[in-house]
């Protein structure tokens, strides 16, 4: 299929502004500036675009909340804290197509009447930081950013803000706290960032891929855009595919492409032609699916009906050789490490999950450990400020739901050794 988000990335100089312009770049910005800001928001609303960071919230609606506020200045923040393990799509856009993001942010800033934008970038992406800073300077020099964009009197300043290794800063309120120079701990909502965000001003936080879709919507129009992919969740989607797969990498496909098609048609199937055991479809914390349940459309509306989530589109593929108890344990170890410590059920509970999983994986599990894991996860679920605790509880519950016999086998071995 024709690509947009990854257009031109085969060109070794794709990050250079001249190459981007040669390929048609910054035309959407010029077009957007001939429209009223409210018309740009209407276009995005009509396009049906949903946020690509994981939650799938309609972007145009989020924007209209922020646009309605009278409080000024307004801020646009790009969430480039791509911390969900198994996800590496935003990095590709940042490093190979940075001007697409800059153009998308500039159009979005104009629509929202925000004069300041920040890209909150993972500390783990030092190359992307350098590339993005060069690109921003090029865009300023050409008049696509700054105090008088394309001589239309439009102002939009953009800066990169580097994180320093904290998964929780991908959560938008924690991200805002981090941008304000604080520990990145989630805030209670409401107030929502669109009303009171950065510096207590209206702030829109959008994922890299979401913002990178904006020039496309302006270029082809909301009508044509809304015809792409799933009808209730349109547009192109980036999928990061990793694990035991023949052709791992980032794929741009229509939203709603089935998980099975992604794995077997686009990525060539399982490495070494082994049997597939399980797939985590949308980044490490989304519900795992067994091999016989992957014939499902990857979009934000339909995936929950099939027992999982599209999340960030980070597809992690596991062949028959993988010990899923160990995978579950490693996922929980990650979440224990990344818990910000604010809410007791998450800070303490995830640690308990980890220690039980450690002993089960090490062949020292006790009879009753599976029920104990479920009990602890029940006491975390729904009892925390943000979704990190819920994610940990969900990971444990879903692994056990589909692979309980594998957990039991580990425990049986331990019990028979013990007896």
């Amino acid at each position: 299929m024709e690509t947009f988000l990854l257009r031109n990335i085969g060109n070794p100089n794709s990050a250079d502004i001249n190459e981007y312009i040669k390929a048609g770049g910054y035309k959407a910005l010029a077009k957007a500036l001939t429209l009223k800001p409210s018309d740009v928001i209407d276009e995005v609303k009509k396009s049906g675009l949903r946020g690509r960071g994981g939650a799938g919230f309609p972007t145009g609606i989020k924007w209209s909340f922020a646009a309605a506020g009278q409080n000024k200045p307004k801020y646009l923040v790009c969430n480039a804290d791509e911390g969900e393990p198994g996800t590496f799509k935003d990095k590709l856009v940042l490093e190979k197509n940075p001007h697409l993001l800059i153009e998308g942010m500039c159009i979005s800033g104009y629509a929202l009447q925000a004069e300041y934008g920040y890209v909150y970038l993972r500390g783990e992406y030092p190359q992307a930081k350098h590339i993005l800073e060069v690109a921003i300077k090029q865009a300023c020099d050409k008049g696509f950013l700054g105090d008088d964009i394309l001589h239309k009197g439009v102002r939009f300043q953009l800066a990169v803000h580097q994180g320093a290794g904290a998964y929780i800063c991908g959560e938008e309120t924690a991200l805002i706290d981090s941008l304000e120079g604080k520990r990145g701990q989630p805030r209670i909502k409401p107030p929502f960032p669109v009303n009171e965000g950065f510096m207590a001003k209206p702030t829109v936080v959008n994922n890299v891929e979401t913002l990178a879709n904006i020039p496309y919507i302006i270029e082809i129009g909301s009508n044509e855009y809304s015809q792409l992919g799933s009808s209730d969740c349109p547009g192109p989607k980036l999928f990061s595919v990793s694990g035991h797969i023949k052709k791992p990498g980032v794929y741009e496909l229509p939203m709603g492409t089935s998980l099975k098609e992604i794995i077997y048609t686009h990525c060539g199937g399982i490495a070494g032609d082994k049997n597939l055991k399980a797939v985590i479809p949308g980044g490490l914390t989304t519900p795992i699916l067994p091999a016989d349940k992957i014939d499902c459309p990857m979009d934000y509306v339909n995936m929950p009906k099939h027992g999982s989530m599209t999340g960030s589109g980070g597809v992690m593929v596991f062949d028959e050789s993988v010990d899923l108890v160990k995978v579950c344990g490693r996922a929980i170890k990650f979440l224990e490490r990344e818990s910000c410590g604010k809410c007791t059920p998450c800070r303490e509970g995830v640690g308990w999950l980890r220690s039980i999983l450690d002993r089960v994986a090490a062949g020292e599990g006790r009879e009753g450990d599976i029920d104990l894991l479920l009990e602890v996860s029940k006491n975390i679920m729904g009892k925390t400020f943000c979704a990190l605790g819920d994610s940990a509880a969900g990971v444990v519950q879903n692994f056990i739901k589909h692979f309980r016999p594998e957990f039991q086998d580990h425990i049986n071995e331990a019990v028979s050794v013990g007896s």
Partner: protein, 154 residues
């Protein structure tokens, strides 16, 4: 406590934000890039420069896993062992570093050449296992290429 170069960089950062507090993370990055770690004295100096209490600077600095609060080796190895890297063999790479250099996670070699930090995903899962050495990304590594690659960092 801050070098002239660091002061100039922090003043430049100050011009990109409307409030001083937002400059805290970028300023700590400047210190770490220059010294490889963030000392108590450096935290105090940054706090004074941005009018942020030193206890607050410490609270913020120690929240983030990429900020180091002890001296590090000349080269920092950041090796991912999260799930995508784990299923592609990252744990055996940790063992190789232990055997070859006597290097433990969160440790530094006796000659001060390498420090090792275990990372939680560095966004290159399609070419796992991966590591950053200083700011260079190395992917698709195995036990052999790991040691050859590190041989170039003296």
């Amino acid at each position: 406590m801050l070098s002239d170069g660091a002061l100039i960089k922090i003043q430049h950062i100050r011009s990109k934000y409307q409030d001083a507090r937002s400059c805290l993370l970028p300023s700590l990055h400047v210190v770490q890039e220059e010294n490889g770690w963030i000392s108590p004295a450096a935290m105090e100096a940054v706090g004074e420069l941005l009018s942020v209490p030193k206890a607050t600077v410490k609270g913020v600095s120690t929240f983030y896993s990429m900020f180091s609060h002890r001296p590090m080796g000349r080269h920092l190895i950041q090796l991912c062992t999260n799930v995508a890297c784990m299923v592609m063999g990252a744990d055996s790479l940790v063992d190789s570093l232990r055997k070859k250099y006597g290097l433990e996670p969160n440790g530094t070699t006796a000659d001060g050449r390498f420090s090792l930090v275990i990372m939680e995903c560095i966004g290159a899962c399609g070419t796992a296992p991966v590591m950053l050495v200083d700011t260079d990304l190395h992917d698709n590594i195995n036990e052999n290429t790991l040691l050859t690659t590190l041989g170039k960092y003296t």
